[in-house]
Symmetry: D2
Subunit: 339 residues, 4 copies
């Protein structure tokens, strides 16, 4: 079975990564590619690495250009996907890479993003408890944010087994591609190279409520998250360091191994090895390692992902595969491009 | 008054940074430069950026080559400075950039470094309460580790005013020069570029007891520190994110401003600005910003330093200036090299 | 038909890239992985990105461990492959990624590498005139050097059509992975990041005679090459700028398009677009663009490749595919990983 | 004697570097700082590394705000300085960091930049034959472009001694800060990191006529230059590789040493050492090395500079020092910030 897919937002980084992966997917045919201000130009001007699609012309993002596809990926700025999604028929699988359909609570949406809440869709992080079941046969998928992907997978086993207090700190070091192609001075190469900087400090980043929602659901109680993103001089990758006070002693390494046993895209590293984002570059893999800090009586977990792959486009395709009944891993790889 | 200085370990990164700064210091004459395996070679082979000293020949690090200097800087691997320091006369100002004389507790030394404890020297972080006084007229200075410099200054005001619980998490993103010129595979450019990775996770890094010692002394009670260093693709810079539960409400911005009022090398940024390591490159400056995370009821502090300057060689010279009765700021700058 | 392959030198960068690509190749079974000093350790310790092979134990590189494979890749230091290759039977396809079998002239070998000449094998750059034919059914392949790959393809059309003088200058900006995992001070991340430097200047680089050999064969006359490699702060990628005096006027863009028409891995970019190494990262693609410098009456060609893929391991697999009668492109991609 | 200076374009990279250096200059007082769209904002928002000037408010760039200063630096986009310069009195030393007053030939100006030619001013590259004399007591200085600085100094000795043919190729690998703070997609960190790319290929870069003008004046005959700039993933630095056919045999190393003997900011490296841009970071130094390529019968010269320092702001201050009768080296350093 071949499905026909459209990508809205094909000129951006998320859209480009979707297409890179879909080009290797055996069950898809790449249909309409759409954009906003870049409509009418060729894809090569925006994605010179996508050689087989170089001559494709970007169309406008409208109901009509997206019609007639089995799957529509929406890689649009936050707040733009709800409107276009509402115009797509219920038989179309709509995969939203934006934030519009992630949060359950309308008050949270209003507080963190503003405007009307578009409602919550099945959440595209299959490794979370219960998530995979909800993705089967769904026609609507909310792809997680890149930081919640790493942070949730880093702490899910510990909350599922109730070994930590619901009071966590998460510091995530990220490459610049997570910020997209927005032309902001602080994203210029001259500013980024040779520099590390924090932003959204003090609970100001919009991925915070999503992390709290995910972890709270697993813990069965409210979880507070002190989240700080740090921008580092690299294009891709997120390295998340998450920690929380231990509630009780546990063989945390074994606990993590068991929790993720059989998961194709989560790898608890051999003891003594620690994750590097380089090892996950371009792959859909999550690399994890855990430690108990006996001095501070805390669990510390480090997780590496590629923000554009597992953190965005790869996670989206993994969830699409589940929704359509495909083998979950097709079109995706555990193998990174290193060094 | 001109003092004659010697630098032991002149071929390494800390030694190079000392010399870079001392070349601009109006009150010093640069005497012997010594090294271990590089003795007999010219400095240009190791420090091509130190043009005025290019022709200097490195000598062996011995009591004799270091004799006859007013100040001796020891930029040696941990465990090597105590022995050579013991051979230098009490009239010589010995500034140890290694760890040998930082810890007060012999048990801590044995546990974290191994071997005999060489005793504690006045601690070269003048901004800490009481530290500046102890440095005046001293003939022995223990220069802080690079991570404890940033972490201690990030949290000192909060502990001094007792607004946080003694249970902190610190994640420090560091450039590679902190690891020195050791030829290790994980420090190769091919491995480092495009990658972030954590190490010494779970309380395993040797700077942890130093941080706990500093913060405990300010707090007047034991402080636990969950410390994680993260290696990022840049040569210089440490960006520290430190947080702790708030004990009581406070105007943290004003509190930090007051605490560091008059400090020449600590800059609490204007509200809304966050530190970048680039802005401190090559300078002796610390850039700080604070936030209260109301969701998590935590104080979050971000501090940027240049690990080789304020974090090592600049801090050493600042302390030397105090010990010798010089103006504290000579030979040092608050101005970074950016972009 | 599935062939069983062995990789000698599996712990290095070239070996790792071979395995990354072979994991996607539908017609191979990965057999013995061998190494020198790393024999006995697991692959995960050296190639953490190759998740499906993480538990594989490296064997010693001997005739016995390499026996019983249809294809043996030798990713060994220069001068090591000839000896081991001589011990492999004539029925085994031996693909040498080192320099041992590239040069035709024994005097050239002695001058540039020293020691006995092992003889020349069919050259694994199928896009050169006549090369593809010689690779069919061969049992011995000499994979080109990374710089000669870019430089030869940049100038082949111009020499084939005799539009330039046989006197060229080539400056190739390269990432650090081309230097392998050798633990040299100048390859440390701290030294490489933020810095550009030339090496092997003045005709001292060993890839010079290989470039001259390739271009001379196409030109039908001796070609002198002034070649300068420049190390830049990136892990992968070579950007080659090649130029030569024009012998006669020509529509160079059309000429290049025609020459490479139908080549699956050479892409003459649309007019106005210039190559970036990022667009080729992890792909087997060569991106080319040409210009006539009317002021200087020179042809200028810019070519981008991934040094580890098209420049080493990808080129090796492409040539293996030809030798074994497979579709030339299987296991390889034109799609880069960007940004 | 203290002079009062103004900087027009203080929010940009060239303006920031001027101020960084002027803060260490013992004979200047920093007066008005002006900008275009950033007028009215504080300098800290644009130059967070210039701590002592953090609170300064940017004024508009007008005749009035620049009046009353002894020296006015114009760090403005090309084509903007001529107009404002014409409004500044003849007693004011005007130092133009833009291109407006570099070219002698009105036809060249029209062809490469367009519009009316503003005339040529004394050229701020004191190391060129005769240039230093023309700078003494001048009230108008045209600061060289960053590429012509490296390229001219790389080849000046060879042309002065007539040992090369007037037909040179120059490839300059540059950091991104040379492109300024312009918000262009190809200058985003995500695009730049991990990538090398050429631009202005085929004689299209505006620094080409300036290089030809400089080299032709030294050679006493027309010199053609095939110039290609390559963008590399670093903020600062230009590494220039220049080569030309040898006209006659010569001891090129000795020739270069003699030519630059006594020059404070040009360093012919010890034989066997090659320049790195890192060694010049933040310094006003030029590092040079030469080789004869016997195979190609060419001279090859490699030169490293910091594009913002010697290539722009440092060169401007060096020339100002000469014009005002100061010691040429004050406010400038030969010492780079490395690693």
């Amino acid at each position: 079975m071949t499905v026909k897919i459209a990508v809205a937002g094909a000129s951006g980084y998320a859209g480009g990564e979707l297409l890179r992966l879909l080009l290797t997917h055996p069950e898809v045919e790449i249909g309409a590619l759409t954009a906003a201000s870049s409509a009418g130009t060729k894809l090569a001007a925006h994605q010179p690495h996508l050689v087989p699609l170089a001559g494709r012309v970007l169309q406008e993002t409208t109901k009509d250009t997206l019609a007639g596809h089995d799957v529509v990926f929406l890689a649009l700025p936050h707040g733009h996907s709800a409107e276009i999604a509402a115009q797509l028929g219920p038989e179309t699988l709509v995969v939203d890479l934006g934030a519009d359909h992630r949060l359950a609570d309308a008050g949270d949406w209003a507080r963190w993003y503003g405007g009307d809440h578009a409602g919550q869709w099945p959440y595209g992080l299959p490794e979370l408890p219960g998530a995979r079941e909800k993705l089967k046969n769904t026609k609507r998928i909310a792809v997680p944010g890149c930081f919640p992907t790493g942070g949730s997978l880093a702490l899910a086993p510990a909350f599922a087994e109730k070994i930590i207090e619901p009071d966590v700190t998460v510091v995530s070091v990220t490459g610049t591609s997570g910020a997209g192609k927005a032309l902001k001075p602080n994203l210029l190469g001259s500013e980024v190279m040779g520099s590390a900087s924090a932003y959204g400090v003090g609970g100001a980043h919009r991925h915070t409520p999503e992390l709290m929602q995910n972890l709270g659901a697993i813990a069965g109680e409210a979880v507070t998250v002190s989240f700080t993103p740090v921008l580092a001089p690299m294009s891709r990758g997120i390295l998340t360091t998450a920690s929380a006070p231990l509630r009780r002693a546990a063989d945390v390494y074994e606990l993590y191994q068991k929790f993720y046993d059989g998961e194709p895209f989560v790898q608890v590293l051999p003891e003594g090895m620690w994750p590097t984002t380089a090892a996950t570059l371009g792959s859909n893999n999550v690399q994890l390692q855990v430690a108990v800090d006996a001095l501070a009586n805390r669990l510390v977990v480090v997780a590496a992902i590629d923000n554009l792959t597992k953190g965005t486009a790869g996670g989206a395709i993994q969830s699409m595969n589940i929704a359509l009944g495909f083998e979950e891993t097709i079109g995706l790889s555990t193998v990174g491009v290193a060094p």
